[in-house]
């Protein structure tokens, strides 16, 4: 029947879209599980290092590392922004960028310069249009980021901190709360914010090999890298769960649209049949 051909093609194309979105939902769900496992697996490392750093602050060290002491004035902040490489994951990246832009505006009004290290294509393409300085870029990490891939980007930041060009390093990423909630988080990683717990009575110190500076910087650099790695892994878990939720609602919306269109189509068909019958009846009556 010729009735509602446009509507039928429309329904067909929406059905195709629905197939894609539901497939993406399922893929995201399975990837999310793996990403969450990776997130759990990387936790002990950062936690254990934090423990050691806690011991270090208690230990009566004669050597203070620059990563542990804040510089007197804060003139320039480096921010490591972690985003996804791909889109179609709801408002995940946008929410993070918005909350970061608010912080950046606050810094700029305090006459603090900002420079960025962008991880992920989305943050790279977003922040290059904002006129902020980007000092390093890292993209195409994939679903299973390798630790060695991110060393370069972090080194750029740390080198600039070492040479005194930036006074503070922040990290911006999405914290994984649960499948439904991801919290955009901006937190400071260098200099380390050390919570001063009650000092121990007896003073003691580590034996450092080969010397305090080498051992400490090796430890602190690893801690920072572990934090960034953790941020990336967590952001991937966020990306997948956010995509899963977004695709789920897209699939539902497509279903609603199909229902509506089918109703319109049926009405049109019914109207055509009714019209045809009344025409036949009217024709028969006229004879």
């Amino acid at each position: 029947m010729a009735v509602g051909k446009e509507i039928r093609t429309q329904i067909k194309s929406i059905k195709n879209t629905q197939k894609i979105t539901s497939a993406m939902e399922m893929v995201a769900a399975s990837k999310m599980k793996k990403a969450q496992d990776r997130m759990q697996a990387s936790r002990p490392y950062a936690e254990k290092i934090l423990n050691v750093i806690g011991h270090l602050t208690h230990a009566n060290s004669e050597f203070k590392h620059p990563y542990m002491t804040a510089s007197e004035e804060n003139k320039r902040v480096g921010v490591i922004v972690i985003s996804s490489d791909r889109g179609l994951c709801g408002g995940l990246n946008t929410n993070l960028f918005r909350s970061l832009l608010k912080d950046i505006a606050a810094w700029q009004s305090d006459k603090v310069d900002v420079e960025l290290c962008t991880i992920g294509k989305k943050s790279t393409s977003f922040f290059k249009n904002t006129g902020l300085t980007i000092n390093s870029v890292l993209t195409d990490l994939g679903d299973t980021p390798h630790f060695d891939d991110l060393l370069g980007a972090i080194k750029v930041m740390l080198d600039r901190y070492d040479s005194g060009e930036i006074d503070q390093i922040m990290i911006a990423y999405n914290r994984f709360e649960n499948t439904m909630t991801q919290v955009p988080t901006v937190k400071q990683i260098v200099p380390m914010e050390i919570t001063d717990e009650e000092s121990m009575d007896h003073h003691w110190d580590y034996i450092y090999e080969p010397d305090a500076e080498t051992a400490l910087s090796a430890l602190l650099v690893r801690y920072i890298e572990a934090l960034v790695y953790q941020g990336i892994v967590e952001n991937i878990a966020c990306e997948q769960s956010s995509r899963m939720v977004a695709m789920h609602s897209a699939t539902e919306n497509a279903g609603d649209m199909i229902d509506e269109l089918e109703l319109i189509y049926n009405k049109a068909r019914q109207a055509a049949i009714t019209q045809e019958i009344s025409e036949i009846v009217a024709g028969a009556a006229a004879v």
Binding site: P44, I134, F147, K155, P210, L219, R222
Partner: protein
Amino acid sequence: MSVIHVDVVSATEEIYSGEAKCVFAPASMGEIGIYPKHVALISTLKPGEVRVETENGMESIFVSGGIIEVQPDTVTIFSDTAIRANDLDESKALEAKQRAEEAMSNAQGAQDVSSTQAALAESLVQLQMISKMRGKKR
């Protein structure tokens, strides 16, 4: 018999966790053996074998470097997952910078450009590396 708690972790996973009689680790100044009640120590590690002696025998773990922290009753070994060399880190840092410059110079481009851009930056860097290597050989 006193025991010491040993944790071996890397950034991607927890490799070993348990009680041990003693631990041997390839510290940067030479191999060290740690028994319970060892004095507190932090040292960097060379690539090598960490041996953990437990009740049920020896446990052997390869580390490609890292850090060891010793407390009287615990030992924590942070194993590196990445192979580190200063020049390798340096080249990676350069690559990251390069990509940033690339992104900045095309600031007014559309959003979709980013992927082509990344690819371009990557191949540029590769070219650079190749020419550098050739330069060295000559």
